[in-house]
Symmetry: C2
Amino acid sequence: MSKKEVILTGDRATGQLHLGHLAGSVLKRVELQETHDQTILVADMQGLTDNGHDPKKVSENILNVVADYLSVGIDPTKTTICLQSKLPALAELTMFYSNIVTVSRLERNPTVRNEIKNKGFDKVIPAGFLNYPISQAADITAFNATLIPVGDDQLPMIEQTNEIVRKMNSIVGKPVLSECRSLLSDMPRLPSLDGKTKMSKSAGNTITLDVTNKELKKLVNKMYTDDNHLTIDMPGQIEGNVVFSYLDAFYKDKAHLAELKAHYQRGGLGDGQTKKVLLECLIELITPFRKRRQELMSDKGELIRVLKEGTEKSQIITGETCEKIKQGLGLSLF
Amino acid sequence: MSKKEVILTGDRATGQLHLGHLAGSVLKRVELQETHDQTILVADMQGLTDNGHDPKKVSENILNVVADYLSVGIDPTKTTICLQSKLPALAELTMFYSNIVTVSRLERNPTVRNEIKNKGFDKVIPAGFLNYPISQAADITAFNATLIPVGDDQLPMIEQTNEIVRKMNSIVGKPVLSECRSLLSDMPRLPSLDGKTKMSKSAGNTITLDVTNKELKKLVNKMYTDDNHLTIDMPGQIEGNVVFSYLDAFYKDKAHLAELKAHYQRGGLGDGQTKKVLLECLIELITPFRKRRQELMSDKGELIRVLKEGTEKSQIITGETCEKIKQGLGLSLF
């Protein structure tokens, strides 16, 4: 029996998942669980790095995120779902790694720089936020994960993780930690509904999986299309058109989608019509998710049971890695 | 039965303890264990914050430090001795607290600034080192310690700890953590043997507890006295005279010491004579420590047993504090 490659992925538990997550990563995970040894980390600790003063934003979303996973087809018998704050080995490894990473190296990390800018932290960056690449390296290495699904904006995190792996292996004198590689998403990031930014939980500009058909219609109707497409007869632009971004992500009949695009570009296809196509597509996609999600949220005990089971399994794996590091550093006296 | 006040103290496990530790803190702890609920943390994690690339400097000194404690009279039935790296709750609390402390606040901490300067870190500060005030706050609060013996250079650490306590209590909405106060050492810091700096393990300019009488004689002989005290007849200076600093710290007959000082100041008392008095004093002090230490180091299993027992007791206390914080943040789902 060949051993499956280990994947670690996850989400900050700072809000419900939305269609951006679905297109960018979550649907891919439903496939990956068939071929890989996949763990999904519900990252409550990381969620707190920029919500230290508002822990409810995190605590109230843990089960939301678990329900989102299960509702779209993540199968806990195939994928391990676990809660970051219940894995003390991750905090311990973060401490060990933080001694071999300099502050200036963290400040140079492009992902961190960008996030600091986006969040407007400037000089009031929480220490935990600056350290989060170290914490991510702890997550990845603790699970011995070698394949990490990421967007291209996260590539510097993989690079920094591998730097830590090489340094720690060199200090310990043997390859206790494994380097990892990225599995780049082939899906371009979904824009926000107004087309201005990437869709993100914090922007409040998202389509969540519990959306009703009525709400969905409203949201699709407000999607940005093309400001210069003033009449149906005029040629419309695909690039930057949020409706087509969503169709690209979710419309299954790619041949028909190509026709729609051609029609839109030469003129004669109205935004009302493209939105109608998208709305039907999204209703078909989301309705079973929403129903499953309602059932799941009506039995939180079961959600907790799933999370607990995955977490207990993960405690063993991450604890073993931490013990290896302690042994390597000579700290295992008893 | 009135509950005893909780004291947390400790040492970085980066070298054997020396007479500077003895005068500054360790002999005081032998007294405090009679009246207080005292825990001594063998701080291997903190020792690694500036020795990340040289873990042996820490790992090889853990039992040295435990032996030092026991040899001078720390009694493990009265004082809990525990190993920092075996207390995952401390790492977890550090992570939680790091989200409510800004990077610029850490950089402003006078103790950290000074240490960064002393260690020549400048721009290559390890992240773990910058974070160590947070880690110390985790240590103190995890044990519910309210009294912290410190030198005056460590007062900013107490201040930063109490800031974290107040912020976390305010976020959680109830007083889960206790503020602490400092117990300032009444003993001025012992100088290094050449009189130029404070005695520190890193300076290699120390008198350790396993020193033989022959080595001790050499060390006392090389102590700085007074460059202007060229002949016995000349008046000598007490201030800056390392021999008198040591006599102040360890010579028990204070009346006789006052006479010696007066004699030295008016002239007629040679450095050879003051050094002879000091040597006899130190031999009397150290000989029983050295003998006890030799016995202890010949049975490392017993040292490990003492450390393990104290650590297991501490795991419960620190784990309870961490659980309280998790509950307060809403993260205790299971």
